[in-house]
């Protein structure tokens, strides 16, 4: 399954995503330049972390207008699996592909640590192989990760099941202490109404090997392979007919 990983000026998690997919998943992956206008060659897309355009003005605010984003929007509407990680999550919310906004951490400090997140929904391509309620241990590294939506929208997201990941303690309980940045309802990740676009602040692409602290991230990245299998089966069917 071919992964496309978008590099914006200032992206710095693109190479980690590349390594996670190649070394961790053993799948082909390529970096895609921010001026690219055609993403049809890829089976899924990762919008990686970093500081696109230095996070100046607002994280993701300037990157969302990069030429490649028109293609990203097209692929999103076409239902292609897209994962926004950290700054990628911020870019997708700025672009309106995901609801809400990511504000300055409540602590006002950048925070780098390992946290626990609970998988709330398994009906997205990025969580399809996980059991609901699974607790994953993942790294975070961000200064603007406080997820915000107004109450009405929050209720809507909960109703439609668009909350995909929540910060929890080691035992899977949603607590204030487990919330590293003041996100509403401990939200660590959400998806769009169509469910194919997922964004989260934690870094699954930094957790693909025990030697560097853990490999829980692979479970997220591997989930999307199921979609790859579907695509492959479809192709075989076509050949058969």
């Amino acid at each position: 399954m071919r992964f496309g990983i978008v590099t914006f000026p200032g992206s710095n998690g693109d190479h980690d995503a590349l390594m996670a997919v190649r070394l961790g998943l053993g799948q082909p992956a390529e970096l895609v330049w921010h001026t690219e206008r055609d993403l049809s060659a890829y089976d899924c897309l990762i919008i990686p972390g970093g500081f696109s355009y230095g996070d100046y003005l607002r994280p993701g605010a300037i990157a969302r207008f990069a030429p490649v984003m028109e293609a990203v929007v097209r692929e999103a509407e076409a239902g292609k699996p897209i994962l926004g990680i950290c700054n990628g999550f911020q870019i997708l919310t700025e672009a309106g592909l995901l609801p809400g906004a990511l504000l300055r951490n409540a602590s006002l400090e950048f925070v780098c640590d390992w946290v626990f997140v609970r998988v709330e929904r398994t009906d997205t391509p990025w969580t399809s192989r996980l059991a609901s309620g699974t607790v994953l241990r993942l790294p975070i590294a961000h200064g603007d990760g406080r997820y915000y939506v107004d109450e009405r929208t929050l209720a809507e997201l909960e109703r439609t099941g668009q909350v995909v990941f929540r910060y929890v303690d080691a035992d899977g309980r949603v607590t204030a202490e487990a919330n590293p940045n003041g996100s509403v309802a401990n939200i660590a990740g959400v998806c769009n109404a169509q469910r194919n676009v997922v964004g989260l602040m934690p870094h699954p692409e930094r957790a693909y090997d025990r030697l560097i602290g853990g490999d829980d991230g692979l479970q997220i990245l591997a989930s999307v392979l199921a979609v790859g299998l579907e695509v492959a089966r479809g192709a075989l069917r076509d050949v058969a007919e």
Partner: protein
């Protein structure tokens, strides 16, 4: 043009130095030339006081691929790879504007690394402040840590190690030393030598503004806050990230002959240095330099210290290829001049010559000074102090003393700092900050890994600069050995006061000689470094602070050790069984006394202890290893228990019997001491190994449970220790 004393003060040249310049030049330099000479003859660029002394540091060794003299040093790692390392100070700018001062310090050291053609993979920072309870120090602390995090995090480099020390003497002069480590293919290393007459000089990166003009000179005079002139530099890590990626891509094409970052004294220093190293000349036209502001004079353009700029020497026939790559990265790159064969640095403005100086005059001809060295009698007297004149600690006071030490800013957890630094990016971090005595990084697709740490106990150096500098080398390398790595090389940052004062010059000489001796015995060369003098205000100098940054190599990165005790095991003390209280954290924190002689250091024993620890780890005998530094034995035991979340029961009766004093036994400090925890069944092997290395070894007790017990002396819960230590620095 008659030179007035004002003009000379402006460019920080003495009358004698001016006469020297006139004599060498055979005429009076004009204002632009004078500014250029002043900048390159400053302490910061010219190393006037340190150059004669630095020669004493050993800089060669079997692993050394590049010693001092280039933008950074390099050591062999194996499989054709080298580690490139360098440390640099940004003390004066950080005293004026802590956030931007520290941030631009990180930017500068990173450029040094990729100028060598290496990909930066990690940062470390060594910080010194006054008492953190004071609002001003809080402001400096938060600003500095915030600035380092902002720049490093945005660049996408993990900050994985460092050290912090607090002493009142740093109030007016905080220290900010940043270290960067990169990896390169040995064959792909770039030297900053402008060769090939007719090759083009290309400037790339930020537009040039009036930033930090005279930065080099202001880093060479006392009292940063008053002496500071020019516009404070504001860093742009975003631009640096583009510059980093683009420069590495450009270097890979082979179109580039040389690359040099623009740091202190900007264009003047960069062009003079590459020409000097290349044995050539350079001609450039300031009118071609992209400006951020209108109306800048040639003087300002040549001396601007605007950040995020690089100078390249490019083969004319490959220019388009180079410019195309920079265009793709949306970077501004222009040809501003060419390499000549006349050994002159010729500066034009729209074709008209505005300055023309022999390159050698700017670089080699810089005067050097050997000053009078005399130790301050006050410090000598302090060193005579006998800690044993104090009443010994009562058993009932052991726990309070331990908790006081665990809360001391020089021991308490550094988590509040490194939690704001991205240390997982690049997915190489095997032992993150706090997990081990040094950070451990893997090198993807290779079996070996590297370890990084900085250290320097300025209290030791204050009371005995020679011995203190030896301890700095010993502790930094010991920390690296304690994670299982063989120290390969050192990069040092010599932070001192005004060398024109005999007692400061004495400290400088002693520290360098001490460092040199330790490096020789431990077999670790100094491959790069930096000197920062005049760190003093109103005649009050900082303690001598020769910060030592070490890079070590683990043959098999999977074979490493952290400092946290892991479950049940036996804990041994390796190394000297006696310790002393002179210059100790205990004296300072519990008695408010900064005096006495620092612990003696047997460098031969140090070498054996480190070799022993490394072999024990490589053989897989070790569950945890932690060196005993500030706070001594009991603090080290407590740190390893808290870090591992496991208690233990220890006995110190034998040690106590030898010393006769409780305070000395529990909190006394000594070099060459390491705690190791081994699993059931490994005890014999460790003892045999210690015997083979002729290293004293003593069993201290066993780990397990949730309480911290020293037989007959103290019993408390790990939680209580964690509460004290875990409060965190600056809290």
């Amino acid at each position: 043009m008659p030179v007035t004393p004002e003009i000379l003060r402006e460019v920080a040249l003495t009358a004698e130095e001016y006469e020297r310049a006139v004599a060498l030049l055979g005429r009076e330099p004009n204002r632009v030339e004078l500014g250029m000479i002043g900048a390159l003859w400053s302490e910061h660029c010219g190393y006037k006081h340190s150059r004669p002394l630095l020669k004493r540091l050993p800089s060669s060794g079997p692993h050394v691929v590049q010693g001092p003299g280039e933008n950074a040093g390099a050591v062999e790692l194996g499989d054709g790879l080298v580690a490139v390392l360098k440390i640099e100070s940004h003390n004066h700018p950080s005293a004026v504007e802590p956030f931007q001062g520290a941030a631009t310090g990180v930017g500068g050291i990173v450029r040094d690394i990729f100028a060598m053609g290496a990909r930066p993979i990690a940062l470390a920072d060594s910080l010194r402040f006054g008492p953190l309870e004071e609002p001003r120090q809080q402001y400096l602390f938060r600003g500095v840590v915030g600035g380092i995090g902002w720049y490093g995090n945005c660049l996408g480099l993990p900050t994985v190690a460092g050290d912090v020390f607090v002493m009142p003497e740093y109030r007016q002069n905080p220290l900010v030393n940043a270290m960067c480590v990169g990896i390169a293919e040995r064959e792909a290393l770039v030297r900053a030598r402008a060769t090939g007459v007719g090759n083009l000089v290309v400037l790339v990166g930020a537009d040039t503004g009036r930033d930090g003009i005279h930065g080099a000179t202001f880093a060479s005079v006392e009292d940063p806050e008053r002496s500071h002139r020019g516009v404070v530099q504001v860093g742009n890590p975003f631009l640096e990230k583009l510059l980093l990626e683009a420069c590495l891509e450009v270097l890979a094409t082979g179109a580039v002959v040389a690359m040099q970052d623009l740091g202190a004294a900007g264009l003047t220093s960069a062009s003079a240095e590459i020409a000097a190293r290349g044995g050539t000349g350079i001609e450039l036209d300031v009118a071609l330099v992209p400006r951020r502001e209108a109306g800048m004079t040639p003087y300002e353009v040549m001396l601007s210290e605007s950040q995020e700029r690089m100078l390249l020497v490019v083969r004319p026939e490959r220019l388009d290829q180079v410019l195309e790559i920079f265009r793709r990265w949306e970077l501004h790159a222009v040809v501003i001049g060419r390499v000549t064969d006349d050994g002159l640095l010729r500066v034009l403005e729209n074709g008209a010559v505005v300055a023309e100086l022999p390159v050698s005059l700017l670089t080699d001809a810089c005067p050097t000074y050997v000053r009078e060295a005399r130790e301050s009698p006050d410090i000598r007297a302090r060193r005579q102090y006998d800690p044993r004149s104090l009443p010994d600690l009562a058993p009932s006071d052991v726990l309070p003393a331990l908790l006081t030490l665990l809360r001391s800013p020089n021991i308490v957890s550094r988590r509040p700092i490194y939690r704001t630094y991205d240390h997982t990016i690049l997915t190489n971090t095997v032992l993150p900050p706090g997990a081990g005595d040094a950070a451990v990084l893997r090198i993807k697709r290779h079996r070996f890994g590297i370890a990084i740490k900085t250290d320097c106990n300025p209290r030791y150096c204050f009371l005995d600069p020679r011995l203190g500098a030896q301890h700095a080398v010993a502790e930094a390398t010991r920390n690296v050995s304690c994670v299982g790595a063989e120290p390969l090389a050192i990069t040092d940052c010599l932070n001192f006061g005004n060398p024109e004062r005999p007692e400061v010059y004495y400290q400088l000489v002693e520290a360098i000689e001490g460092m040199a001796e330790a490096c020789r015995v431990l077999g670790v060369p100094v491959v790069s470094g930096n000197v920062s003098l005049y760190n003093e205000t109103e005649g009050r100098s900082i303690p001598p602070t020769p910060v030592v940054g070490v890079v070590g190599r683990l043959a098999d990165v999977r074979r490493h050790a952290g400092l946290g005790f892991a479950g049940e095991g036996t804990v041994f003390l390796l190394g000297p069984q006696s310790a002393s209280l002179g210059a100790s954290e205990y004296l300072a924190s519990c008695h408010g006394v900064v005096a006495g002689a620092p612990p003696e250091l047997d460098l031969e024993l140090e070498r054996r202890v480190q070799a022993l620890v490394r072999e024990a780890i490589q053989r897989g005998l070790v569950l945890a290893a932690h060196d005993c530094s500030e706070g001594g034995l009991l603090v080290a035991l407590a740190e390893s228990c808290v870090a591992g979340g496991v208690g233990g029961t220890f006995a110190i009766d034998e040690l106590l019997a030898q010393s006769g004093r409780l305070d000395e036994t529990l909190f006394g400090e000594a070099g060459s001491r390491v705690l190791v925890q081994v699993g059931p069944g490994a005890e014999g092997a460790l003892l045999a190994l210690a015997h083979a290395y002729a290293v004293p070894v003593m069993e201290l007790g066993r780990t397990g449970g949730a309480s911290f017990v020293v037989r007959g002396l103290l019993e408390c819960s790990i939680a209580e220790l964690r509460e004290a230590w875990g409060a965190g620095i600056g809290a």
